[in-house]
Subunit: 160 residues, 6 copies
Amino acid sequence: MELVTVKLVIPEGANLILGQSHFIKTVEDLYEILVGTVPGIKFGLAFCESSGECLVRVEGNDPELTQAATENANRLAAGHTFNILLKNAFPINVLNAVKLCPEVCRVFCATANPVEVILAQTEQGRGILGVVDGLSPKGVEAEDGKAWRHEILRKFGYKK
Amino acid sequence: MELVTVKLVIPEGANLILGQSHFIKTVEDLYEILVGTVPGIKFGLAFCESSGECLVRVEGNDPELTQAATENANRLAAGHTFNILLKNAFPINVLNAVKLCPEVCRVFCATANPVEVILAQTEQGRGILGVVDGLSPKGVEAEDGKAWRHEILRKFGYKK
Amino acid sequence: MELVTVKLVIPEGANLILGQSHFIKTVEDLYEILVGTVPGIKFGLAFCESSGECLVRVEGNDPELTQAATENANRLAAGHTFNILLKNAFPINVLNAVKLCPEVCRVFCATANPVEVILAQTEQGRGILGVVDGLSPKGVEAEDGKAWRHEILRKFGYKK
Amino acid sequence: MELVTVKLVIPEGANLILGQSHFIKTVEDLYEILVGTVPGIKFGLAFCESSGECLVRVEGNDPELTQAATENANRLAAGHTFNILLKNAFPINVLNAVKLCPEVCRVFCATANPVEVILAQTEQGRGILGVVDGLSPKGVEAEDGKAWRHEILRKFGYKK
Amino acid sequence: MELVTVKLVIPEGANLILGQSHFIKTVEDLYEILVGTVPGIKFGLAFCESSGECLVRVEGNDPELTQAATENANRLAAGHTFNILLKNAFPINVLNAVKLCPEVCRVFCATANPVEVILAQTEQGRGILGVVDGLSPKGVEAEDGKAWRHEILRKFGYKK
Amino acid sequence: MELVTVKLVIPEGANLILGQSHFIKTVEDLYEILVGTVPGIKFGLAFCESSGECLVRVEGNDPELTQAATENANRLAAGHTFNILLKNAFPINVLNAVKLCPEVCRVFCATANPVEVILAQTEQGRGILGVVDGLSPKGVEAEDGKAWRHEILRKFGYKK
């Protein structure tokens, strides 16, 4: 068994959701969940079928995002994993719906940060072990940092 | 710390669900969730208690599946992990109910594929890092592949 | 890429929940979820912001637990991860609410056991690969072990 | 405004789920939810579209149940209500999935009992006010009644 | 068909949750949900079985609340309805878990207010049409009212 | 007890969600849920506080919708009920999140149709019994009707 590190493509302005699922039905169900949750959402998604034809299964309504999600699936090459790239929407808008998709096992990360994926490579295939999602912390917030985040969440209207 | 790879037993015709949980109540709650979701389901499940007596805790209504789930728990030997083997039902039937079980932290995979589990072994114990679930993709679906999966999901009645 | 093992602080009598999320809103939403789920809960939580200021973002209503959660975040130093330490409540009380928090991707573990976290360290940052949650099993429960757990779950009132 | 009472058809051996929803997409989503939750489920469902063509929209995989659900929709004639009739499955198997269908507002009842529905009839249309689901209680369980239900839930395997 | 109004008993300091369910398993599942969500919760609950023996089925861990819930079930006498009375906990702590109980159809109200229930009485039985939960509004909040509620939610720690 | 029928205001292009909840925290939680689910959503919401000051509690980010929701609350005058009016979004986008709001008991309807609400008026206050949501059906869909709805759901991208 060998450890492999892969960097994912996240087009400018897009967010990534990376997960593990269990069936080709995933691609159509995630398509419908995304379209049904945010009007005007743009996305591409790709799923690594891991038996039978073993094809990367692809859906989306935006060519650039769909192509990038396909590229990510090819780089990952890990059975039953999926990735979604989205624009005009944020992970917070869709994440509960994605988690409750009946084929989804787990979500590794949801982010606009640079992402490195750590995988195990065996003779059989590949599996995701974890992700490096953005940078490590440089310190602990002080009072001014608390005030800033309290304010920005209200400025964006996320919190009352 | 050492990395270990373990292959799991999946009896012919069965599916596996592998997860992390936090309490011995898991075994009775998962039992009730499985029985309550699919009439006629056959299953075995095993959970690695990780304090006190540190016993593999076992439930099920099918001896072969229960024995295989116990064998998997012994191979994994990772605290607070569980595995379910099921027949007469598929992961899609039960996965949301399993994910909403109040002791379940996460589901690593749900599959009928051969599964290799990557674990960390320390002096203290063991933890699952990830899974190789089936094979890596061999290509990207073309139009005929899209047509095939669209049709098969409808032939099985899963999608309209 | 290098593998790193980190031990987490769990104060006497506390439980830990360790997860992956995607946004600084996590800290306020988890605060509200915890306060809204168990009256009298005591907790501290910390989240590793992974872009911009890259600060550990902290909330809580108990200074010792908040300080310990901050210490855990510093030890982990893995972008978009969070940890919660709680008293006067158990993970089973809050875990479904935490899993349904709209920013939460996944929960790695929920436990009062000693926890070792396996991380990947790259030039970019760090990511959690998995956890060793308590000890490995020492055997399989026999009839007396089954009877004991059946009884104790009913003695504590968890099951009828 | 006038109050109207309507009796619903429940074929021998079937169960009824009666609810309120908000969009014609309901019929396809409920179809997929039912097929995806219990292998071998037989069902019919009907939804009262309440604008545009105002047609009863129908799906199912069993002609008798589909016809009976259509008959129920015609008797109810209440905008945005739906009813499902199912065999080879019980409401407990599918109810959480139905409640989490993104178009479903609420479920009035889930039962194999005779059902009378109380509706309001106005010039505009009709709305469900409530249901009489089976019979009124004849007393309070004594110790033998408690023992009986405790035992029967375990005899059927529903509870441990 | 006749309309009936019934006042429910809510002991001093208790809250009521009133709902519709579909099976005697409800009483044990709600018991376990309540115990599993808030440590130290005190409650009583009663469910109107509506076929077979047609008994009020009762659970709880507090005699006064259990007796009051039984009295409420007798007053309601409506098939497949349940009521929970709770202390040391508030509806907000348990409501999502109650709604996700696999037998629960819907929750009519959750309140510490005086409650009047409007029922339909037919020859067959009774059904809940709705509830009067407390008093009607006396006006619309002005700026000082907004400020008061904003402050009190933060004073109680519910919101940040 | 008297039955009352009330028509609700739904501004041109808006959708209505009508529900029952249990606490003034509802207004802030629904605000955050709506903002967090659809970027650019416009809405107003109003909740009938039913004890203490008994004020209609109001939130929103669009003056016209907020004023209309307030008007609806005044017309309803039913304790612990709420209504949401939304634009730039549809009920399907937000309904699961609203149903999982920890204070929400039930949703009566979600619609752009004309809505009549049937209420009970007692000396104590008022309660919603049901809704007439749009028109009654005029017939059952034939093959051409089935084909139309199948096509339109795919034309809008809602279904694959």
